[in-house]
């Protein structure tokens, strides 16, 4: 390993009060604070307009924060991009949602895999042998190297993307919908691979997925986003068992289990997701919240700690008042 790794559990990625405003009007991210520690696997869930894609782009430096600070390894991302962009890029990588479209259409896979080596002028011998080892580890055969992106499957393209990222020995990998487009019967293989790689290479992951089963099984901590804000952050197990924010509760209930015994009652929210250009006043969720009170429309709740490991952005989170828990399967039977 050429880059020195910080000790486990030290903050690797930090966002402090980050806002991203497009064109002066669209607040894609609003006052987001999040810390990802070394070795973490953090999940990020949210629907359209939640800002999860913008959050990823802010960490990776594709989008600059309009206010607040994004730090990697204690140093500001914006600063690193100006002083030493290549070194910064080697630390954090991102797997885009459409794996096939992430590859240059007129470049063979072989050339695509050598891109990072060429861009960063990595020592040829060492990097090439590392690449070979990675390809073998990922199960990519030699015959894939001469093919073009449109000739390979989604799963193969995903692994090519992983290989390209790994050859630079990054510390953080952001995976945007890693299982999108993959059939259920092959998702497991990819996820096992990602988990194994995390162990072998000491990686830190930020996993964005709309597939709640994947989040629940793979991540240790999860943040729920709504309209540009983080509304809840908790250890994954606790979040899924006892969501504190009404939106989290509704979102998590949309995922019906196959086994009727495990099914919770679906909480159906009223109305549509508001536009990010004109978010509701006060708590952004109050227009659809099944338990909103008068205070919610005027007072915007801050992200507060409700336990050492959990944060919620709500005036009346569920865990504070057991009587207001959303109905679950246990209570129905």
């Amino acid at each position: 390993m050429s880059t020195a790794r910080p000790p486990a559990n030290s903050a690797l990625v930090e966002l402090k009060g980050v806002s991203v405003v497009f064109g002066g009007k669209v607040r894609a991210l609003d006052d987001v604070t999040l810390t990802i520690a070394q070795g973490d696997i953090v999940g990020l869930v949210g629907e359209s307009g939640s800002g999860k894609t913008t959050l990823c782009r802010a960490i990776v430096g594709l989008t600059l924060a309009s206010s607040g600070e994004v730090r990697l390894n204690g140093k500001s991302v914006a600063g690193q991009l100006t002083t030493n962009p290549l070194a910064f890029r080697r630390q954090v990588q991102m797997l885009l949602q459409d794996a096939v479209a992430s590859l240059s259409p007129r470049m063979t896979i072989g050339r695509a895999l050598h891109e990072p080596i060429a861009i960063h002028s990595l020592p040829r011998e060492e990097a090439s042998s590392r690449l070979q080892a990675i390809l073998k580890r990922l199960g990519l055969q030699a015959d894939v190297l001469v093919k073009f992106p449109h000739q390979i499957s989604g799963g193969q393209a995903r692994r090519v993307g992983v290989a390209r990222a790994l050859v630079m020995q990054p510390q953080v990998i952001i995976a945007d919908e890693p299982t999108a487009g993959l059939d259920v019967s092959v998702q497991g293989e990819l996820l096992n691979l990602l988990l194994d790689l995390q162990q072998e290479f000491g990686l830190t992951y930020l996993l964005v997925s709309h597939n709640l089963n994947v989040i629940r099984r793979v991540t240790a901590r999860t943040a729920v986003m709504y309209l540009g804000q983080i509304v809840e952050e908790a250890p994954t197990r606790e979040l899924f068992d006892k969501p504190a924010h009404p939106y989290s509760a509704a979102l998590l209930s949309t995922n019906p289990a196959i086994d009727p015994a495990h099914r919770t009652r679906r909480i159906v929210l009223k109305g549509e997701i508001p536009s990010v250009v004109n978010p509701p006043s006060g708590c952004r969720f109050h227009t659809r919240c099944p338990v909103a009170q008068a205070r919610c429309s005027s007072d915007s709740p801050p992200l507060t700690d409700i336990s050492p490991e959990r944060k919620v952005r709500c005036h009346f989170p569920f865990t504070l008042d057991p009587a207001r828990r959303p109905p679950s399967a246990d209570e129905d039977h």
Binding site: E47, S48, S153, D183, V184, S185, V186, Q187, G188, E189, L191, N192, H210, L212, N213, V214, R216, R217, R237, F240, A250, L251, S253, T254, N255, P256, A257, I258, D259, P260, H262, R263, R266, I267, V268, L269, E272, I273, R288
Partner: protein, 332 residues
């Protein structure tokens, strides 16, 4: 719609030996390799399958079927597809929009961006009830929008598709489909493109349809949990064939076909923490490959010589259940 009727009522649609082939540069692609399926009256049938299963092609084929007819192998050349159904275009066109309606995955491309919602709905009504007056039609259109949960119906009637959100457009599509008063409603992944909370609203809507809609619904999806919750019957497809059918709760709790079993094992069982995630090794057979044996055999842990030599027929395996596996009965 009661359970008792099912055993005695004849199926609304009976499909036998449905084959769909297309000519490609590499040879004939077998998209559907002899599908046998019954769609019960007043039932919601879920059709699940992964890529290459042919479930979406089945949906398109359904729009060319006459109810309660057995399809046979015929020849019909359409551009480059060899469609083996003996139907002439005018007859089937007469069925569409009157007896069969379809809801698509992407409502934006299914709605004409040049016309308002009102025009869409009124058009559907004119086709179904040719003599209807414009005023009557608008009244019915408004009622239809309300019945699918659109609050300000008058406002939405005057809107154009691009002014509506995804969930709203899908509701409009469902309203259009219901106005047809069809015997058969085919929904091809209607919620896949929607956000989770919006999907929940549409699924809620479908559940409400159980009591309001007297026809049959075919709900195509890759989402097993959704199908488990919504549908009465289940049809599992793989590689262009039907591998298993039956009442949804039974098929999912006691799957008989190795593919169904493997698929269920792959569904990330949220409760179990740690441990390896399961997947099915290999990939779906190339559609160009000829159909001489069980399509799933190359990936099946329990395949034996017979599986690789003969095409398994769909056989009965319990009340209202069928399975296409030569080894049915031998496996645990």
């Amino acid at each position: 719609m009661s359970q008792a009727n099912l055993a005695t009522t004849t199926a609304l649609v009976r499909i036998r030996g449905l084959k769909l082939e297309a000519s490609t540069q590499r040879g004939t692609a077998h998209i559907l390799r002899g599908v046998d399926l019954d769609i019960g009256r007043g039932r919601i049938l879920g059709v699940v399958g992964e890529s290459g299963s042919g479930k979406s092609s089945l949906a398109s084929c359904l729009l060319r079927l006459l109810p309660s007819n057995i399809t046979h192998l015929g020849g019909q050349r359409r551009v480059r597809r060899h469609d083996l159904l003996k139907l002439d275009d005018t007859t089937i066109a007469g069925w569409r929009g009157k007896r069969i309606a379809m809801i698509f995955q992407d409502p934006m491309t299914a709605l004409n961006p040049l016309f308002t919602v009102a025009t869409h709905l009124v058009d559907v009504l004119h086709r179904r009830h040719p003599g209807i007056s414009r005023q009557d039609a608008l009244g019915r259109a408004r009622a239809a929008l309300v019945s699918v949960g659109i609050a300000d119906a008058d406002l939405r009637l005057a809107a154009y598709p691009h002014q509506l959100s995804g969930g709203m457009r899908q509701r409009v599509m469902i309203a259009m489909a219901l106005l047809v008063e069809p015997d058969l409603l085919v929904a091809d992944e209607p919620t896949t493109a929607l956000d989770a909370t919006v999907e929940a609203q549409i699924v809620d809507l479908f559940e409400g349809l159980r009591s309001k809609f007297s026809g049959s619904i075919v709900f195509i999806s890759h989402h097993l949990g959704l199908v488990a919750q919504l549908c009465d019957d289940l049809c599992v497809m793989y590689g262009g064939t039907v591998v298993e059918t039956g009442p949804v709760a039974e098929v999912l709790s006691k799957p008989q076909h190795p593919y169904t079993q493997a698929l269920l094992a792959c569904e990330i069982d949220s409760d179990a923490q740690g441990g390896r995630l399961v997947s099915i090794p290999g990939e779906v057979q190339d559609p160009v490959a000829p159909h001489m044996a069980c399509v799933f055999a190359p990936r099946c842990a329990q395949a034996d010589a017979r599986c690789r030599a003969t095409v398994p027929a769909l056989q009965a395996c319990g009340a209202q259940r069928t399975v296409a596996c030569v080894r049915y009965g031998e496996l645990g």
